[in-house]
Amino acid sequence: MSRQRAMRDTEYNPLVYFIDGLVTLFNGMVVTWRNLWRPKITVRYPYQRRPVPPRYRGLFYLKWNEEKQRLNCVGCTLCAQACPTDVISMVKLGKGTHAGVSEFTMDLGRCMFCNLCVEACPFDAIYMGPNYELASERRDVSLFRIADLAQGGEEAVRKNIETIERLLAEEEKAKPAHAAHAAGGQSE
């Protein structure tokens, strides 16, 4: 550790202080003069916007899986459990391999944008996007429903439910056959 004495000044002497004052003031003015000509840093929001880095933690979205025609979320509530402030609640749709969510609500008025829920999700279903303009004059708009969160909005939610219901129905149909098959196998 370095131990040093602060640069100290001599005893007060009006004239010395005055001249020193003028000189150092001039030095300072040189700095401000230089800055007068530097490019300005103002970003004229909302006319201009800064680019948002990819990791930015803004408004959430539920990832849409184009291949499977559904949202990735399976309604496992791990994110809800990871959240320190109980922001997330959901309604699960179906169970087993084809489970999904029919409703997914986030009360962002309580959210800290801490990223814990995103890290907790094992299915790559929830992410934080680049949208940071969430301010509002009303309180109730802080409640985000599934249609506000899903990638693709209403349309995606409808398709999501459709797909999952179809898959569930198929599974349901396949079940007795499978059971019969199994039974048949046993009897042989």
Partner: protein, 359 residues
């Protein structure tokens, strides 16, 4: 004459209220009133699982959120005996030093405005904005980062981050020279700060001051040196210590720390090994019963967390030693006999953050 400074006053840096008894321009007595920002954080933490508490620490010292994240994570790691991979330790040190620069720049800017040099505020914030951009790119947030996890950091540094930091370091070296020209060497600035608000060494010790405040009073006490955590024992840096204990010395300590932080950043970027950044932990983390205590050198001083575990999922007791709170306690003593105009200089030089004081 009794005047009431704050909680809404341009230079009390938050919601601090000071009741001053004046005789003309002379301050006879000062009584700080705190608690306007009290949220009961310690109690809140006792009701939640360990790892849920990390984001709350962002709201303590909101100018140096990462230091708080680190402090609580270290405490939990000690409690649970969690190892941190080497690369994660380097990343932590890198982020801590960037955070220190950002925090000291806020000090520099607000201190300048307090003394009337408004331009300094804009310059310091301009550079702070660059640091925030860097941190934003890495962590995804600008103020409440929450980017330290028990057992490491959540993610690796983004692509090309090191180069950007080095560019910043290079630019910032020049900018520090400019600050020196504009403010440090200025005659008026020196007359306003030298010999004002002197904290003698004994007082600093008696009140338990830490951080720049203690180091300006001649106490060579820096947690990074006396109890190195992460990889601070592998990097080379000096801890500036001044004997005088006045506002000027506290200012110089912080200016010197800016330079030292740049040095640390360069070394860390040079030495950083490859490897994983996080240790896998069980879903439900239940450390064995016991007490853990961790301390880090936040930009404001010694920040410590104490946690008591009974083997369950939640801590049963959390205590936070907030450096600002301890440093603020010398204020009434410093202000006795000072001038009203010195009030802002002295308060600014202690550099308190109210979020941390009121918890």
């Amino acid at each position: 004459m009794v005047i009431n400074v704050g909680p809404q006053h341009p230079s009390t840096h938050g919601v601090l209220r000071l009741i001053l008894t004046l005789d003309g321009e002379q301050i006879l007595a000062c009584e700080p009133v705190i608690g306007y920002l009290h949220r009961g954080l310690e109690k809140m933490m006792e009701r939640r699982p360990y790892r849920h508490n990390i984001p709350f620490t962002d709201r303590l010292d909101y100018l140096a959120a990462l230091s708080n994240n680190l402090a609580i994570c270290q405490c939990i790691e000690r409690l649970g005996g969690v190892e941190v991979p080497e690369r994660a330790q380097y990343i932590r040190v890198l982020l801590m030093e960037l955070q220190r620069i950002a925090s000291h720049l806020v000090f520099l800017g607000t201190f300048g405005t307090d003394l009337g040099a408004t331009t300094m505020f804009l310059y310091a914030f301009r550079e702070r904005e660059m640091v925030l951009d860097l941190l934003e790119e890495c962590t995804g947030a600008r103020l409440t980062y929450n980017w330290v996890r028990v057992g490491g950091v959540p993610d690796d540094l983004p692509e090309g981050f090191g180069q950007k930091v080095l560019d910043f370091v290079k630019l910032f070296r020049q900018r520090i020279e400019e600050y020196d020209m504009l403010l440090t060497r200025n005659r008026i600035f020196r007359s306003r700060t030298q010999g004002i608000g002197v904290i003698p060494k004994e007082t600093a010790l008696a009140y338990g001051c830490s951080g720049p405040v203690a180091r300006a009073s001649g106490i060579p006490y820096d947690i990074r040196k006396v109890a190195p955590y992460e990889v601070y024992n592998r990097v080379e840096f000096d801890v500036p210590v001044f004997e005088d204990g006045d506002v000027w010395a506290r200012y110089l300590v912080r200016m010197e720390e800016l330079r030292q932080s740049l040095r640390i950043i360069e070394q860390v970027l040079r030495d950083m090994p490859d490897g994983p950044v996080q240790t896998k932990l069980p879903k439900i983390f239940k450390p064995p019963a016991g007490i853990a205590y961790s301390r880090v050198e936040s930009p404001r001083g010694e920040l410590s967390f104490m946690m008591v575990s009974d083997g369950g999922a939640n801590p049963v007791r959390v205590h936070i030693r907030a450096p600002s709170f301890v440093n603020l306690s010398v204020l009434p003593r410093l202000l006795e006999g000072a001038k009203v105009a010195d009030l802002v200089a002295i308060l600014g030089s202690i550099d308190v953050v109210l979020g941390e004081i009121d918890r």
